[in-house]
Amino acid sequence: MRHVRGFDVMRPLSIGMLVFLMLPLVFLPLASIFIFGTSNGLDKFWAALTQPEAIFALELSMATSFWATVFNVVFGLFAAYVLSRYNFWGRNALIVTISLPTAIPTAVAGFALLLLWGPYGTLGRLLAPHGFQLMFTASAIILANIFVTFPLAFGVIKPVFDTMSHSLEEASATIGATRWQTFWHVTMPSLRGAIVSGALLTFARAVGEFGSTILVSGNLAGRTQTAPLYIFAKFNEGQIEAANAIAIVLALFSFLIFSVLFFARDWLDVD
């Protein structure tokens, strides 16, 4: 390492290099959303944003992501509890299976759901005559969201379970607590941080989901069109401003979530 009169030359050089590399890859694309979206004035932006279809798309995204998050956090908690407390044959296979959905391309995930629940699908074929049609509804979007975000909350919660001292639960039992009381008063507080960050991760990922959603939702404007689908549709129709307005909202939203995750880490893990 070259030093010029006690000054480490590598320091500014390497930091400069890092920023320079990130510029075209991350910073500039993000910046252009904001520059382009607001270039025609804020009132144009606002008008694009308050289109009924745009508002519907945002609301649908929030609602479907919310339910997928609720399900996956509760499921992740349960799965983490079972898989870290009990040792049984096939335990590792289950852990791998839970983690698998992250590795599956989202389009494949959507396609798989269609093949199961679609009108001609394995299960859908049996249900269709009874007027039960899951695909191309909001429920289909929730199912797709659950599938692609399946391991996220689990992945954050399980390590906390693993490192949690079993003697806390034993202590609580000898003090006289039921299993439920122990879970609620002793186990849960230690999981608070993991649950919040698992939920935020799941939600952020679900809000942005595109590949599986476009297959299972049918992409019907005002009915099953989520925010990312809206961006894609408006872009195809050449309505760049309409697409851009939603893009700004989604980008800001993910900034918000990741700032919470980043800055609230200390709060989430107060000991």
Binding site: S165, E170, H185
Partner: protein, 386 residues
């Protein structure tokens, strides 16, 4: 096999006749336990009286933690019973036994303040808020944590955490307190300080307690009685003085600090050890003339005399040569080699007044005498195990 059954029947009979008196605070009868195919406990029976402190002393793997966990209800025995204040709790789950366990790492709830930790037992019992507050007030005072009551466990020292753990169990008035190696995680200085503190505290609250430890000094200091465990069975149970001065087995003798062991033969009124005749009165029910026995004596029971002049009460063993002298502060430790066949070495200690009176040097020839000794019952320990 038949013998084992006989023994079991015997202990059961004893326990039944014992039950006539006031019930002990806690008793275990004939506990045994297997882990896989290895037996970790064999026919363990003992009891703890009201207000008494019993220490289970044993090396790691002796089964002491398993006994504690069985009493607490965290582990099930294969055979045997746990009886708390006359009530058989063997089949009750941990939460219905009302025992207080002080875990080795204290197991304080990290997200609860000191107050919340202490009040936990009453909160889950749905007691009135006023009652909980009064009990917590009383207990933080008792364990001297008034100014720390709002703090979280991670902000407390090891000793303070331990006091919270004790207060947390005292809050619901436990039938018995169980301490799992409570000083294991602390440095030597804090240990001895806390030991005195806890002993004083237990004398104050008078809750019968069982400690487990592998530290013999701790056992002697804390226990009203001490049970020495070895590979899943109790070698001896008695007062600290008894087990230290009159060990029943070689294992107990060696486990409780340095011990010298010599072989001898039982005669009418004495034990013959080499050329020496050590006078003693032995129970004729346990010893017969001609039995080959071992005698045990502590290094501090050894007297070294340069001129072969012995005082009354000192019994001559043999001349010996000093091989090594180590100064260890309060006393000096001397290794000697006996001048007789076998040429066994003997450890002796001398306190300061003595060391400054007569100086001894490596190579000096002295006469070894002892002031007290114990004769171990012949082959007792091996017989019992089979």
């Amino acid at each position: 096999m038949a013998k084992a059954r006989e023994q079991l029947i015997q202990t059961l009979e004893i326990s039944q006749t014992d039950a006539e008196g006031p019930p002990a605070a806690a008793r275990v009868v004939g506990l045994s336990k297997l882990f896989g195919k290895t037996s970790v406990l064999e026919n363990i029976s003992f009891e703890v009286a009201e207000g008494e402190v019993l220490v289970l002393l044993g090396a790691s793997g002796s089964g002491k933690t398993t006994i504690l966990r069985i009493i607490a209800g965290l582990e099930q025995p294969l055979n045997g019973k746990v009886i708390l204040h006359g009530k058989d709790v063997t089949d009750l789950p941990a939460r219905e036994r009302g025992v207080g366990v002080i875990f080795q790492n204290y197991a304080l709830f990290p997200k609860m303040s000191v107050e919340k930790n202490i009040g936990y037992g009453l909160r889950i019992r749905k007691r009135k808020r006023r009652e909980i507050r009064e009990t917590v007030d009383e207990l933080v005072k008792l364990v001297q944590l008034e100014e720390h009551r709002k703090k979280y466990p991670s902000q407390l020292s090891g000793g303070q955490q331990q006091r919270v753990a004790i207060a947390r169990t005292l809050a619901y008035k436990p039938e018995v307190l169980l301490f799992d190696e409570p000083f294991g995680a602390l440095d030597t200085q804090t240990r001895s300080h806390l030991r005195r503190e806890i002993r004083a505290l237990l004398k104050k609250v008078k809750v019968p307690s069982i400690f487990i430890t592998h530290d013999q000094e701790e056992a002697l200091e804390l226990g009203d009685r001490v049970a020495v465990l070895n590979q899943g069975h109790i070698e001896q149970i008695g007062s600290p003085y008894e087990i230290y001065s009159h060990p029943a087995t070689e294992y107990v003798a060696l486990f409780l600090g340095a011990a010298n062991i010599l072989e001898g033969v039982v005669r009418r009124e004495w034990v013959e050890v080499g050329a020496a005749h050590l006078e003693t009165s032995l129970d004729p029910a346990k010893f017969q003339q001609g039995d080959r026995v071992k005698i045990v004596f502590r290094p501090e029971d050894v007297v070294l005399s340069r001129r072969d002049l012995l005082l009354p009460g000192q019994q001559r063993i043999a001349p010996a040569v000093i091989e090594e002298i180590i100064f260890v502060g309060a006393y000096e430790r001397i290794r000697l080699r006996l001048e007789r066949d076998g040429a066994q070495s003997i450890m002796a200690t001398r306190l300061k007044p003595e060391t400054s009176g007569t100086r001894l040097h490596v190579g000096d020839r002295v006469v070894v005498a002892i002031t007290s000794f114990t004769v171990l019952e012949p082959q007792k320990s091996t017989d019992d195990k089979k």
